[in-house]
């Protein structure tokens, strides 16, 4: 690990200001992803700002019936929160399907959103990777790409975003609260936080230098059936090949509301409003699931080893919609 300057921040505003004026700076909270990458010298920060003691660890009701989750709330505490278990089951389920008990005790809400891809080539400094070394090329395109994206990728990068939590939050319509270095705060829809790789895969979010995520806000619960279905190579402690987060409401036998997001398919948690619009007002049927999958996968592109994800996404979506509309979970 490269040597770094370790500093502690005593407020979110101070942390943001410190980060705005330093070169090669990283905030550290849980550290479960950052330290892994620092040991491999994929992350080589000159300054590490410890934000772990900031008072951002509360889960609070919002005025409009939603929930504000502090950025330092651990994945364990969020999954165990009574309100999350009752009103946001899809989020609790997503959290519980991720990582291990030890990691969830350390990993934070903000850090989970900003964790880096597990692309083999991003992790392998002997190989080219445009995300790690801009302009060096993408070894995954013609390489071992079983875990890679079929949606949203580019000729420069097909890495996937690894989070489960963010997929559920995307389906729930979450927004992200940010402290800026100038003392102001701003809010971004989670769907606006991430950038697709294009020709700059090293730029993953719309955060500017010094910006610190301070919390995530969930809208009031919408009711309906909530499901998080994760398909992976082993039953526990593995990243998703395909995951589907669904919040589906039925009215008089028809689909009244549909909020869906997908993991394992794209460089960011993936949501497609056309797919949701196509479901609303319709009577559940296998044909409808097929049409929904056609919309989701219209631009899907396999790269060899990950071709199977197209069929797997289609089947997983059908399974989840069927379960949400009355079938078995």
């Amino acid at each position: 690990m490269k040597a770094f300057d370790y500093q502690r921040a005593d407020s979110a505003q101070a942390a943001a200001a410190m980060a705005a004026n330093a070169q090669g700076v990283r905030f550290i909270a849980g550290g479960t992803n950052l330290l892994d990458l620092m040991k491999l010298e994929i992350e080589r920060p000159e300054t590490v700002i410890d934000i772990s003691r900031l008072p951002l660890d509360a889960i609070e009701d919002t005025e409009d019936g939603g929930l504000r989750i502090g950025a330092l709330v651990t994945n364990s505490d969020l999954a165990a929160d009574a309100r999350v278990r009752r009103d946001y089951e899809v989020l609790a389920r997503a959290l519980l399907s991720g990582a291990s008990g030890q990691l969830r005790n350390k990993a934070t809400t903000g850090g989970n959103l900003l964790q880096r891809t597990r692309c083999f080539y991003f992790y392998n400094r002997a190989m080219p990777c445009n995300k790690r070394e801009p302009g060096s090329g993408c070894a995954a395109l013609e390489g071992r790409n079983r875990i890679h994206a079929i949606l949203g990728g580019s000729e420069h990068c097909i890495a996937t975003h690894p989070s489960d939590m963010a997929v559920a939050m995307m389906a729930l319509g979450a927004s992200v609260e940010i402290q800026s270095p100038d003392g102001k705060t701003k809010t971004l829809a989670l769907s606006e936080l991430y950038r697709l790789p294009g020709d700059t895969p090293h730029l993953e979010t719309e955060l500017e230098q010094g910006d610190l995520i301070t919390g995530v806000v969930l809208p009031a619960p919408v009711g309906g059936r909530q499901i998080y279905r994760k398909v992976r190579d082993r039953a526990s402690y593995a990243f998703a090949l395909v995951s589907v987060a669904a919040v589906i409401g039925l009215e008089d036998g028809k689909i009244g509301s549909a909020q869906l997001a997908f993991g394992g398919l794209a460089p960011m948690p993936w949501r497609n409003s056309d797919l949701e619009d196509a479901l609303i007002g319709q009577t559940p049927s296998p044909e409808l699931w097929g049409r929904a999958a056609d919309i989701l996968l219209a631009d899907a592109k396999g790269h060899g080893e990950n071709d199977f994800k197209i069929a797997l996404a289609r089947r997983t979506l059908a399974h989840v919609l069927d379960a949400a509309c009355g079938g078995e979970k």
């Binding site: 040597a3 370790y6 410890d50 009752r86 291990s100 030890q102």
Partner: protein, 168 residues
């Protein structure tokens, strides 16, 4: 960098390079070699310790971030002739072959039983709001962050189940 923290009930004052992991601090600076370094990347669980009562991977945490914290390692759970219930159960059920993962398994299981008691659900819990039952499937899921190269899993589950009152 100066650091004061409590390990197994004893306060320690240390001067550490900020890069030092909590695991390396325990092993190299305090000679507490019970916590093991397997992968050093949070994948195997051999380094599991309790941080203020919660299980974490000590390899993925900077020691300097633990000012004032209380750490418990396998050495703090029991001692020769006075084993903790889980330590005794691992011996009784032969929950290991080589033993390298065992300190992490026992630290992890110690905290895991507390998580179940606190009502935390898991990925395999049917209902998120009911008190979880300590079935074998629940134990396997909740212990998935601790790998055992010798694959002593059936005996590890037996040991944990006995202590946690799983099979009534």
């Amino acid at each position: 960098m100066h650091l004061t923290l409590t390990v197994n009930g004893t306060e320690h004052a240390l001067d550490l390079d900020p890069r030092t992991s909590l695991l390396d601090m325990l092993r190299d600076h305090l000679d507490l070699t019970g916590s093991k370094k397997g992968c050093d990347h949070g994948q195997c669980g051999a380094c599991t310790v309790l941080l203020n009562g919660r299980r974490i991977n000590s390899c993925l945490s900077l020691a300097v971030m633990h000012e004032g914290d209380e750490i418990t390692t396998i050495e703090g759970l029991g001692e020769e002739g006075k084993l903790s219930p889980l330590q005794a159960a691992f011996v009784a059920h032969d929950g290991y072959q080589c033993g390298y993962c065992t300190p992490g398994q026992i630290c992890s299981a110690t905290a895991m039983l507390g998580e179940v008691e606190a009502g935390w659900p898991s990925h395999v819990s049917d209902n998120l709001e009911d008190q979880p039952q300590l079935t074998d499937a629940e134990i396997s899921e909740r212990m998935s962050g601790n790998l055992c190269r010798c694959s002593a899993y059936p005996n590890i589950v037996d040991a944990i189940s006995e202590v946690g009152g799983g099979r009534k």
